[in-house]
Symmetry: D2
Subunit: 137 residues, 4 copies
């Protein structure tokens, strides 16, 4: 298992009329979670795209437990539960506020594809090499 | 079963670096689907909130089939598969482009709560009354 | 002078904690104004980009008069006050709600550039041809 | 003069089809600039709103010099050029990338209003007290 944490501060722009973070905005927060999870491994998602591999989302689920509010500091815990094989990669996420209250949990599944042509490809060896040490028993 | 359709035009603002609609933006498209589904029944979500009842999201799932692009006209099909009972309401969504290609499918589950205090309440009678004719056999 | 109108419905996603449309979201509303202004002339901004010409923004100003709210129907009036010459194009915008109250006014100035290389180019002849009839005296 | 700096990392969500940060998204970046500028003074914008004073935007201008890209680290420099008097407050902003290239410059003007009723009020004494030391000659 590989876990990484990053924090974000809720922007006014991201709140809605209820005073809550709009339910659709957590997708962007989770994006920061997976980008930072990769960066902490020494992998740059931007460089991966520049090299011609992208990682579009196939599915996304989220359960909302508690609202988050303007100016809250949120901790995003991003986890890879399994070493990816084949063409897919799944991230699990939990968001917690700084009072120790869990805001939500979610999951995204992605597929590695070539920017040119959009064909699925197997997980790049570089990704496997960086992740493998976390999945030894 | 109750189904409603509305259309939206993809904004440049909603695309991302891949040229696709960003995966997080479909949540706002689905929001238009449920607001218009209620309006077509004669129910105003704004008025409901002004009367003190809101409908926050408990869970959200989406499967992405094909990308949508800038300036695409998208058809959002919003369905209530069951007459709500208790405190919850689920919407199913499908988004199709104007070439007849399905872009995604999703689901949100909501809970009726009082704006004052945030306590769950049972589905308002007005909602039941408007929906019931669609669920007679 | 050339003027075009389009309407949008305010989404919950676009409101903020004050219950107002977030001040940053009018930029996307104005975008719909200029895209529809071009479409009404028979010009597709998407096709223009697909042919290799894009229109990034050089400057943007907005004055806010009154707030807009969730579910408001807003009318966006987009105006070209002068026939463009050289490499630039300016749009003026006014947003009004359906009670006849003006919400804001704004302006964007754009430059025509080649997608390849990013060099400024003069206004495409097709744009001049479509606009010229509105600027005859 | 009072100046503060904060940094943000560009999210994929914030890019558009050109690969640039969408022109409308800088409004939210500037929002982080003014919230952090106030925080660095010991002022919490959230607390100010909770006490019944809000600071809606009256006008906003921005000039775009260079695009910003996904995953760029951006430095936001937020400046108050004058000690506020009356009911208004203006912030100036510059955004620079981490290669020392200036991305844009902007300005917002706000008015202090009571949440209850929306009447303009003079700049709270607490704000003056925190800012005054930066404006002595």
């Amino acid at each position: 298992m590989y876990t990484s944490e990053n924090t974000i501060r809720v922007r006014y722009a991201e709140t809605d009329r209820m005073g809550y973070v709009y339910y659709g905005n957590y997708a962007a927060y989770f994006e920061t979670g997976r980008v930072e999870a990769l960066r902490a491994l020494g992998l740059s998602y931007r460089e991966m795209e520049d090299k011609g591999i992208m990682l579009p989302v196939l599915s996304y689920q989220i359960k909302y437990f508690k609202p988050a509010f303007f100016d809250d500091t949120l901790i995003i815990k991003t986890t890879l539960k399994e070493l990816p094989t084949g063409t897919r990669l799944s991230f699990h996420y939990e968001i917690w506020n700084d009072k120790g209250i869990q805001i939500n949990e979610g999951q995204t599944t992605h597929v590695f594809v070539k920017v040119d042509g959009g064909r699925p490809i197997t997980v790049p060896q570089e990704v496997i090499d960086k992740l493998a040490p976390f999945f030894k028993n």
